[in-house]
Symmetry: C2
Subunit: 194 residues, 2 copies
DNA sequence: GGCCCTGATATGTTATAATAGATCATTAGG
DNA sequence: CCTAATGATCTATTATAACATATCAGGGCC
């Protein structure tokens, strides 16, 4: 039987990939070198417990000790939910891919539009956030408007409005991020408006 | 909010105590110094993952990563089962306490009986083992016979038989102990008949 | 072909887990 | 009072995680 540590590390990698994060994204988020994340996920190091907890939490997981007798029941719950979660992940993917296409088209057709830089930045950051259904709905509405954009100057206020909506959404989510406990490696205090 | 690591370490201590093991018992079982177990349980060290897995397994637990959304469901399963587990623990305690009383009485009334030393040793070791319901039933039957023991020489074959049954049970359980994976610290290969 | 992004690997330094062993303070039982 | 068992604390040594930084190889896209 495979060591449980291999399964745990595989779960970490799957959760990271499922969140659409690269190792560098996760590194930026929690302040651990990308090379170290690679080593961890590949089993090249025997992780400290506090580091495991920090990584797990960054990926919306918790470390739990479960009586062996209950392992089948717990695994069943996790399995059922991860098919639901992959539905969520698929929805997220779908919305973000369509939004990406709209943003790409926007940049091609209106490359000099005011507010475009800010819209690009807000969108890039939103792509790295955990997004609930209400946030995805906001992005979907913005995408719809960008898809219907006219070619003429009437587009400019729509672009401006889209930029504002995405930035408001980005700021709302960024401000909601809770402060994590400091483990073996600590999150640097971020100045998010910098 | 308490750090997850504190909860995990508390779960380890509770599981050890629930198994009726002292830190020295656990130390002997998994080959880690008792002082280190004390430090771990008290939060004085940031445990390696492989060490956590080894400790958890020695106490019939597994380390699992659970999506945060599912934590309430998983905690509910564990909570419900731990009241069942404490029923098990109570049954175990009850059977072992009564057997202990029978063995104590036996040692007082028949201190020179052949086989008594072996019975004492088998019983002491059995007290440190994980015991299922069938094992507890064997111990209960032996206890019943010891409780009904006559004062005269007719007791001797019953004592001998009880000694044999407990030693058979002890050997059966000792031989069933599975080999564990070798973590940061490895179980020494034990010569159990030594 | 060049650029960008990704995960993996390498080197060097520092802090600490793991180990061994001893000892202490407390509690319970005879 | 003495003994035994327990969990906690201490000292010294060794192996390695964590971190910083650089670099590599592969794949995708233009």
């Amino acid at each position: 039987m495979a060591y449980a540590t291999d399964e745990i590390l595989q779960t970490l990698r799957t959760a990271r990939e499922g969140s659409g994060l690269s190792q560098r994204d996760l590194s930026a988020r929690i302040g651990v070198p990308q090379s170290h994340i690679s080593k961890i996920e590949s089993g090249g190091t025997d992780l400290r417990l506090s580091s495991l907890v920090e990584l797990a939490r960054a990926l919306d997981h918790e470390v739990v000790l479960v009586p062996r007798k209950l392992l089948p029941a717990v695994e069943a719950i996790v399995r059922n939910a991860s098919s639901a979660l992959s539905d969520d992940a698929r929805l997220r993917s779908s919305v973000l891919n369509r939004a990406q296409a709209a943003v790409t088209r926007l940049n091609r057709l209106h490359q000099d539009a005011p507010g475009l830089d800010r819209l690009n930045q807000a969108f890039r950051e939103l792509s790295n956030f955990q997004l609930g259904n209400s946030e995805l709905e906001v992005i979907r509405r913005v995408t719809d408007r960008l898809m219907k954009l006219p070619m003429n100057r009437n587009a400019l206020p729509v672009i401006q409005s889209a930029s504002n909506q995405l930035r408001e959404l980005r700021n709302r989510i960024a401000h909601a991020v809770p402060e994590a406990p400091r483990p073996a490696y600590a999150l640097d205090e971020e100045d998010e408006d910098a």
